[in-house]
């Protein structure tokens, strides 16, 4: 896809600028490139779906849209082995601890795509007593994907955006994403699990 065709170029550029301000070593920089190449091209989703968006995610894996082309088809059922969680569907109060737990169980580096209107903001269930108004209240989100449900093409676009975002990340030296994530988790604490 040509650079001009993307929608959020300003965001990525500001991210790159912020990173480059800190200055990067040449050798370390090329290591980063290699790692980011690997990470951005090998995104394994977690098999996670609560409602309609999950069915579109199935369609995304099917022959018509074939996410295997990008190497995203290795959907892992165990959160330990997945790279990103596609929050496909409404998250309700009762599900919130489960989602948070799944996020905590993912191994670093981990990413989140809020997929569909419900996960972004509560969507059509804004007036409900039992719906979390946006999954970003409980876990940090990397890419927001609107739609009810988003079309598979839109999902491809969202995951490609995520992949672009990963490409400009830095593994060695100051990593901005990690700090932000820690900050978020500090503000949204959970109790120690008691056995």
């Amino acid at each position: 896809m040509p650079y001009e065709a993307w929608k959020d170029n300003e965001y990525i550029e500001s991210l790159v600028k912020e990173l480059q301000d800190n200055g990067a070593n040449v050798i370390v920089g090329s290591f980063d490139k290699l790692i980011n190449w690997g990470r951005s091209n090998s995104l394994w989703p977690l098999t996670f779906a609560t409602s309609c968006c999950g069915i579109e995610f199935v369609s995304l894996g099917a022959a018509r849209f074939d996410m295997a082309r990008f190497g995203w088809e290795v959907a892992r059922s165990s959160p330990r082995q997945a790279d990103f969680i596609m929050v496909a569907g409404t998250i309700v109060n009762r599900m919130a601890p489960v989602v948070r737990r799944l996020y905590d169980q993912l191994a670093e580096p981990k990413y989140v795509i809020a997929c569909g209107a419900c996960a972004v903001s509560g969507g059509p269930f804004k007036k409900s007593y039992h719906v979390v108004m946006g999954v970003d209240q409980i876990i940090p989100v990397d890419v927001y994907l609107p739609g009810c449900p988003p079309r598979p093409e839109a999902m491809i676009y969202a995951i490609m955006q995520l992949s672009r975002k990963i490409k400009v990340e830095r593994f060695f030296g100051g990593v901005n994403r990690k700090e932000k994530q820690e900050e978020f988790l500090k503000n949204h604490p959970i109790d120690e699990v008691v056995d």
Binding site: G38, R39, D83
Partner: protein, 358 residues
């Protein structure tokens, strides 16, 4: 047929010319280890790519095609990612066993590489009980799987490991018996000699009926040994999330993932050795011209080509059949495969005794 032992002997002599005996052995071991690791990882990368493409073809899809030309670098990218993925350390687990398990699994599949007949004269170690050694070391894998399931302190992994234990111990019998059938036919356990014995005609042809039965049983049992569909109960996604390796992340999971594919290669490699002549080209008695032409293809190509072709069949199984249930799987082994196998062994003995083979 080009004999690779010319090269290996030359290297050996070269090293010996300026090194003492013990240093030569050490250097050779290091060299072999390096080559083995390289072959191991390259094969694994190839197999992962191969399976993804084959499965895509069965499912009317394209499969990986974005990373590198034709998506060839897809599994390389996966490898880079998985190498630097976080290794999660869990509370309330047996840390030592938890860390040991993936290495055991990968060790088991790697050791079997030592005796596989890669090409004419291209073999790491040649000794008189080669095939016996192969069966022995490949069984270590089940220990790793059991440890993984046990040490994770998770009910799913435990059930997965128990299933895997029951499955592998049972199917080991079938593998052993069908190997035994072929060993009886070849009259030797030495791998080089087994291959040489197929110089005239591959065993699958010369041993006709009993060899054919042994081959079919070996393929079924081999599929079960590698924990692949339709016998993928230990890691049945829809039942046990990811089975015995549910709690593993990063490269530890990568080891299990690699071992699965490498075991696939080992199983098809052994089938190649026992039934399709190892590295031996396709020969038919009497067709001398044809045999000469076949000899032009290098032996290593023959071996890997045959192994990949057999792996293709196993992959085909996986993407076609539904999964068996644990009791059905065990009754398949104990009620059908084992008696047939024993009968087949007797049949083979008769064939040998009366000289009915071609």
């Amino acid at each position: 047929m080009f004999d690779f032992s010319i090269i290996t002997t030359w290297i050996d002599n070269l090293l010996r010319s300026f090194m003492p005996e013990w240093l030569t052995v050490v250097t050779e071991c290091v060299l072999i280890g390096f080559v083995l690791l390289l072959a191991y990882s390259l094969l694994a990368l190839f197999y992962i790519y191969f399976e993804r493409k084959v499965c895509a073809a069965f499912q009317c899809r394209i499969g990986p095609n974005r990373v590198g030309p034709w998506g060839l670098l897809q599994s390389v990218a996966d490898m880079f990612k998985i190498l630097i993925k976080e290794l999660i350390s869990l509370k309330y687990t047996d840390k030592f066993l938890f860390a040991l398990a993936p290495y055991l699994v990968i060790l088991a599949s790697m050791l079997t590489f030592a005796v596989l007949p890669w090409g004419n004269g291209l073999q790491i170690i040649n000794f008189n009980i080669g095939i016996f050694f192969l069966i022995a070391v490949s069984s270590i894998g089940v220990l790793g799987i059991l440890l993984a399931g046990w040490s994770s302190n998770n009910k799913f992994t435990l059930i997965g490991a128990m299933r895997s234990g029951a499955q592998m111990v049972s199917y080991e019998l079938s593998i052993g018996l069908s190997v035994l059938t072929m060993v009886a036919f070849a009259g030797t356990m030495n791998i080089v000699e087994i291959v040489e014995a197929q110089d005239r005609l591959w065993f699958i042809f010369s041993g006709h009926l009993p060899a054919l039965i042994a081959f079919v049983i070996y393929m079924i049992a081999g599929t079960a040994e590698t924990n692949r569909g339709p016998f993928d109960l230990p890691e049945a996604e829809s039942e046990l999330t990811a089975g015995y390796h549910t709690e593993y992340s990063g490269i530890h999971f990568g080891f299990f993932y690699l071992a699965e594919y490498l075991n696939l290669f080992v199983v098809s490699g052994v089938a190649t050795l026992l039934f399709f002549g190892g590295w031996m080209p396709l020969h038919f008695p009497g067709w001398d011209g044809f045999n000469e032409i076949m000899n032009y293809i290098p032996s290593i190509v023959w071996f890997i080509g045959k192994a990949v072709a057999l792996s293709f069949i196993i992959i085909w199984f996986k993407w076609t059949f539904p999964r068996l249930r644990i009791d059905q799987m065990l009754s398949l082994e104990w009620k059908y495969l084992l008696p047939i196998n024993l009968f087949n062994l007797v049949l083979m003995v008769l064939v040998i005794a009366y000289g009915w083979f071609i």
